[in-house]
Symmetry: C2
Subunit: 269 residues, 2 copies
């Protein structure tokens, strides 16, 4: 998806919500569990219930891999079912030497037809580049993540520079691509860092997880993260998809997604 | 697999070779390409041809994912076919927030029954821990990798410590597990660093890629990396599995694997 189309969708629908499909068979409503294709049935219902209030879906590959080839099939069906108007993210945190990263890019951009893949930057430039070589496809590189472990390495200060590791990642990686093929993951639980992040990368889109279940504040994220093109995709997963526990789960998913959309609309003014 | 069994196999067979199954449909011999299950047929032949000369197989998940659910099936069949005497590594470079890493651990340790998974450390402790909670299973965390991009972040010096990032990763991560559930990836193309690495983690097993096609020296790696329990798994992928290009490819794979084994036997004395 071209950046212009994403920005147009955000403006038209007044939302920058990304719905995370971290679908766990043990957490879906009981009446769906016996379906032969329960994961896809659940995702289909969630997509129908939320698509008017979001511009993106993020599939957390771990939950599908845990089910083996069957899970991989459910992932493929889900990507196909997501409307073409929505930005499709494989939250896969991949990254390896060049010839291997090329295979991952092929897996997610060609075989599965996602628009974007999340990437772990530890292995450096040649591990990231293969994801940036596809037209209208995106690499979304981990900057500052939303978990406690972000303090272990990402926040460490580097010698001979005024930067912490995650800042160096933003500075360096942003040279390898541009605002049309590169985004960064910056966790909502570190909203106070967003002001700083926007100084380093004012124009890139940020994928922001950690709102909702992990405790990040949408208001704070929007205050520090929004730029002239919106520049944010804020993800909520569990808070939306598991809002309901029974056969009315889609009603509750819609309600929560709509709530997020309404709040986002107010910040987009 | 328990560490004692791995060490016993190494001593008995006088080899610490790991054969990397980076199986690419475009590179396998023409006579196999038309098989309905070409990837598995190729792997099966390579395993039969090399199992006497190695103690481990490493499956590079990217190559299987590039083929979608069919590839995931071929990976499952391959893991099942590898003899129980051999240490089975998923080279997957995973790592995510805790509840997601748990799903990856489930995917590779329960659904697919690998012995070990490679892990990217960028996201810190809670992204690594779920892989260390299984008895006789292993997390293999990226330390210093074999690619050029290792210089971008892994080699950066940290402030307030005498360490570079990859050294800090070795120091910190080694506190989260022990020598029975944790190994590190240290690339053969950086053999001179192995002397230093052995000062930080003298007792851990190291998974060493980069020998063969990437240009690392087995002699150097062995000189600096071997410890009292061997402590090395040296991987070769392309140099072995694509040694032959036609229907005699297994003869050539055997010859190369046997060459590595003979050299390793000389270093183990």
């Amino acid at each position: 998806m071209h950046r212009n189309i994403l920005v147009e969708q955000i403006r038209k629908k007044k939302t920058y919500l990304c719905v995370g499909l971290d679908t766990d068979i043990s957490k879906i409503p009981p009446h769906l569990k016996n379906s032969s294709n329960a994961i896809f049935e659940f995702n289909k219902a969630i997509i129908d219930a939320t698509k008017d209030y979001c511009v993106s879906y993020k599939i957390n590959t771990a939950f599908y891999e845990a089910m083996g080839a069957k899970g991989w099939d459910a992932m493929a069906q889900t990507v196909q079912y997501i409307p073409g108007t929505h930005f499709k993210i494989a939250d896969a945190k991949r990254g390896d030497i060049g010839n291997t990263s090329s295979q991952y890019a092929k897996a997610f951009f060609e075989t599965l037809q996602f628009d974007a893949v999340t990437i772990a930057p530890y292995m450096g430039e040649d591990s990231v580049r293969p994801f940036l070589e596809y037209e209208n496809k995106w690499g979304i590189v981990l900057g500052l993540t939303s978990n406690k472990g972000a303090n272990d390495f990402e926040m460490l200060s580097l010698q001979n520079s005024q930067e912490r590791l995650y800042e160096k990642v933003l500075t360096e990686v942003s040279k390898w691509g541009n605002v049309n093929n590169l985004m960064f993951v910056t966790g909502a639980t570190q909203a106070s860092e967003l002001e700083n992040i926007r100084k380093i990368i004012p124009d890139h889109f940020l994928l922001v997880p950690g709102v909702g279940f992990q405790g990040g504040s949408l208001q704070e994220v929007s205050r520090y993260g929004l730029n002239g093109d919106c520049g944010l995709l804020v993800n909520a997963s569990r808070a939306i998809i598991y809002a309901g526990k029974d056969e009315h789960f889609t009603t509750e998913a819609t309600a929560i997604a709509k709530q997020y959309q309404a709040e986002m609309a107010s910040y987009l003014k």
